[in-house]
């Protein structure tokens, strides 16, 4: 349902992505793996229309979304959870959720704050707390919840496990499984192979802006040389 075909991307003169192609099927969880600076976030930003690409195409439900502004892409049902969470620190939890709110969509689960508080019980206890006064893990949950308020049918999750306590990482894995159950397609960027293994169906490895490997997580497990070549251990 989500397809990236041969995109490139530049920051100024520097070429960051080169001919990147992969796809995510409906209800599938795909891990986008790679070291620091490999180009994972840039790939996601390009998909969201935040970084422009001169080549290739990005399609969502068979429709091209390249060149569309971010808000239109989001309104088509593609959710984005950025790295570093980017919570609105001045706004309360409820207000953060309000910003993410979009209309109900026929092809995707419908989320309300109450339903999200069941998924993230921690958040329920701090409805009126400003985002700036929350821990990293809490912010990460809020960031995901905020994106879900847009009722996406596919979601891009940029390093949800980064800088978070192990207990919360486990909870995060559980959340992703829940989303999968709800029928969402998930593209998950990760450096943490262990975490990616828990939740993903397939893995795509980027290195220096190019795709170096695609396959099931199981195959990757059985190929330690690939793992060691492209992923930090």
């Amino acid at each position: 349902m989500l397809e990236v075909q041969g995109i490139n991307a530049f920051y100024g003169q520097a070429k960051i992505l080169d001919d990147v192609s992969f796809s995510v099927g409906a209800g599938e969880v795909v891990a986008l793996l790679g070291r620091n600076g490999a180009g994972k976030s840039t790939t996601m930003k390009t998909m969201m229309g935040m970084v422009s690409s001169t080549k290739g195409d990005v399609t969502f439900n068979g429709e091209t979304i390249k060149k569309l502004p971010s808000h239109v892409i989001c309104q088509k049902g593609l959710g984005y959870v950025p790295e570093e969470r980017r919570i609105f620190t001045e706004l309360t939890v409820m207000e953060n959720l309000e910003v993410g709110k979009q209309d109900k969509r026929p092809d995707a689960p419908f989320w309300t704050p109450d339903k999200l508080f069941k998924l993230f019980p921690n958040l329920a206890e701090m409805r009126n707390r400003p985002g700036g006064q929350m821990s990293g893990g809490e912010q990460q949950m809020l960031s995901i919840a905020r994106t879900l308020m847009g009722n996406p049918s596919a979601i891009l999750l940029d390093e949800p496990s980064e800088g978070i306590a192990p207990v919360i990482v486990e909870q995060m894995a559980f959340t992703i499984m829940e989303l999968k159950k709800e029928g969402l397609a998930v593209l998950l960027s990760e450096q943490n192979l262990h975490f990616a293994k828990l939740v993903s169906d397939r893995a795509v490895i980027v290195e220096k802006g190019s795709i170096r490997y695609q396959g099931t997580v199981k195959e990757l497990e059985e190929n330690p040389e690939i793992r060691d070549a492209y992923l930090a251990v």
């Binding site: 100024g12 935040m50 309104q75 980017r86 910003v99």
Partner: protein, 621 residues
């Protein structure tokens, strides 16, 4: 007792109008990060439109307040129109562009207002039913003032509710922090920004409209109010509406009581308060640390390139041509050329602080004017000769820069820019208000060159020599270790401080240097004209400098020279026409939209490499 209370209430009443303007400015800035000079024009339009509608609509209470509301909303619509046609294109441009573009709008609106409403001051009617006065402790207080005193807090409350209790307000507050993220969450930023402009300009329009019964609508309202509004917004904290309220009351009271103590220097008091507030709280009373706004940064600056061999020859050829000109040119041309040279130095000194220094100075006229007034006052009171006058000029300007710079380098970004602007407004107000010493509006006359330089040709050579030497020295400074450190500091403050350079004192020194050279330009100017008026210190003069730098492009050292030459010639051509402001403003807007890298940048794209050294791009450090 009663008298002081009356004075206090007057202060509160003027605070209300000021608050409406300042809060609108603050709201627009908070979200769009545009420092909107045209906000003062919105205020002025509010007053004029209210005047028009009061006369059209049936007289009476309904008609009067109807006119005020219609006028404010219409100003809001004008704000929306400008946002869609112009501001939208420049959200990502550097501050300088935005400022100059908004100033282009100021010029255009000034001429439109002149054309529609004429040059005469237009007195509005009293508010029906509120024309009288109430006695409080024996003092008559205008009823209308009492209404304004209530209106201020009422608007504060309304704006607070709008921002904190509606979805729109939530989205706007979110966008203030991270526009890109708001967009990625499915919110159409364009319309959000447009609506913010509507609210902000409606508030400015309302501020102008309700001022009508107290102050005649006139063509000077725009720039007069914008200076004060900037002070308020900076004191209150940019983007903070309650802060704007607090600061408006502070400034309103300061004016009300200051006028009893030092009628000449009320604006200086405002500045002092602002300086103290900023030193104690660099982000204003209720502002927040200026977090780096995400999703709004422009391209990184290219390194400066030394002259190529070909361009060196060109410089020598130009120097030769300038030396030879008097042989063929008449006096008129020589005067124009002297002007061009003087403003070239002014622009080069401004470019020095803005380009290599990385410090945006919106009030460069201060140093130009301090130089000019320094020399003029020395002549008037000490009777010094021309040489001494030309020595006094840079000293006066340098001292001014020493004082202002000390405050300025403590700040960064927009706060810095606002403080430089306020500093210029202060010097202007001293020159304008302190009649006994500076002659006020009448200026200082009779500052003529010494005998040996009184011929136009002699003075031209003097100017050429001083400007040439100054530009050469500035260029040497830029390529000296000091210049490298300055540029390094501009590009990465942390790293420079980590290697043991005290960036603040470097920047302070840069302020003094730029002040000295602008002062030389000011000194040359006063002797070439024979007189000096407060206008030379006004916002418009500062903006002239910014336009010159912008025309030439900020990223090259030749830029300000190209800019000053083209600006001065264009001005010379255009100002002879009626309605020159609209033409001039139009040209500015056109350039900002079409050639955002400036004329020199534009030329670099199309000129051959032998002239521009394009090959070096990215390699030279």
């Amino acid at each position: 007792m009663g008298f002081y209370l009356a004075q206090f209430l007057t202060g509160l009443a003027s605070a209300s109008s000021l608050f409406l303007v300042a809060s609108g400015l603050s709201i627009i800035f908070g979200v769009t990060r545009i420092v909107n000079f045209a906000h003062g024009s919105f205020f002025m339009l509010g007053a004029y439109l209210a005047y028009t509608f009061v006369n059209i609509l049936p007289h009476g209470v309904l008609g009067f307040w109807g006119a005020i509301i219609v006028a404010s909303l219409l100003v809001g619509v004008i704000g929306v129109f400008l946002e869609i046609t112009l501001f939208r294109r420049i959200y990502k441009a550097p501050e300088l562009f935005q400022l100059v573009a908004t100033f282009g709008v100021v010029l255009v609106i000034q001429d439109l207002a002149l054309w529609i409403w004429g040059a005469e001051d237009l007195f509005g009617p009293r508010a029906p039913g509120l024309g009288g006065a109430v006695r409080i402790l024996g003092e008559p207080i205008p009823q209308y003032d009492l209404l304004l005193i209530v209106l201020g807090p009422a608007v504060l409350l309304a704006v607070w509710l709008l921002f904190n209790k509606t979805r729109w307000g939530t989205l706007v507050r979110a966008a203030t922090q991270d526009r890109e993220m708001v967009s990625a969450l499915g919110v159409n930023q364009s319309w959000l920004f447009t609506s913010v402009f509507f609210v902000g300009s409606t508030l400015a329009g309302l501020g102008g409209a309700i001022q009508l019964p107290r102050e005649a609508a006139n063509l000077l309202m725009d720039l007069n109010v914008i200076g004060e509004a900037f002070v308020v917004v900076v004191i209150g904290g940019m983007g903070s509406v309650p802060g704007a309220f607090l600061a408006s009351v502070l400034i309103g009271e300061l004016n009300a009581f200051g006028i009893l103590i030092f009628p000449e220097i009320t604006l200086v008091l405002a500045f002092l308060v602002m300086a103290v507030v900023l030193v104690v709280r660099p982000w204003g009373l209720l502002g927040k640390p200026d977090a780096v706004l995400r999703g709004a940064d422009g391209p990184p600056e290219q390194p400066l390139k030394p002259f190529t061999a070909t361009s060196k020859y060109l410089v020598w050829a130009l120097a030769a041509a300038l030396l030879a000109t008097p042989a063929i040119a008449d006096e008129f041309v020589l005067v124009l050329l002297s002007d061009i040279l003087i403003f070239t130095l002014f622009a080069v000194s401004l470019h020095f602080i803005m380009g290599p220094g990385g410090l945006v100075s919106f009030g460069h006229a201060a140093y130009f004017g301090l130089g000019a007034y320094g020399a003029a006052l020395a002549v008037k009171y000490l009777g010094v000769d021309m040489i001494s006058g030309l020595v006094v000029a840079p000293i006066a300007a340098g001292l001014g820069a020493l004082v202002f710079g000390w405050f300025c380098v403590r700040l960064s970004g927009v706060y810095l820019a606002m403080l430089t602007l306020a500093a210029a407004q202060i010097t202007w107000s001293v020159a304008f208000q302190w009649q006994d010493v500076t002659g006020g509006d009448d200026g200082i006359l009779g500052i003529w060159p010494a005998e040996w330089a009184s011929e136009k040709m002699a003075y031209y050579y003097l100017t050429l020599a001083l400007v040439g030497a100054s530009v050469y020295v500035i260029r040497r400074i830029v390529y000296a270790p000091f210049g490298y450190a300055l540029r390094a500091g501009r590009d990465s403050q942390l790293r420079v401080e980590a290697i043991g350079i005290n960036l603040k004192s470097q920047q302070w020194m840069a302020f003094v240097i730029t002040g000295i050279f602008a002062g030389i330009a000011g000194g040359l100017y006063v002797y070439s004209k024979g007189s000096i008026f407060p206008d030379e210190l006004h916002i418009a003069r500062s903006v002239d400098g910014l336009i010159m730098v912008l025309l030439g492009g900020i990223q090259s050292l030749i830029g300000p020279i190209v800019g000053a030459v083209s600006f001065t010639m264009l001005e010379d051509l255009v100002t002879r026409l009626d309605y020159w402001r609209i033409i001039f403003g139009g040209v500015i807007l056109f350039i900002v939209v079409i050639a955002p890298e400036g004329l020199a940048g534009f030329a670099r794209k199309i000129l051959p490499e032998s002239l521009t050294g394009k090959k070096n791009e990215g390699v030279q450090i």
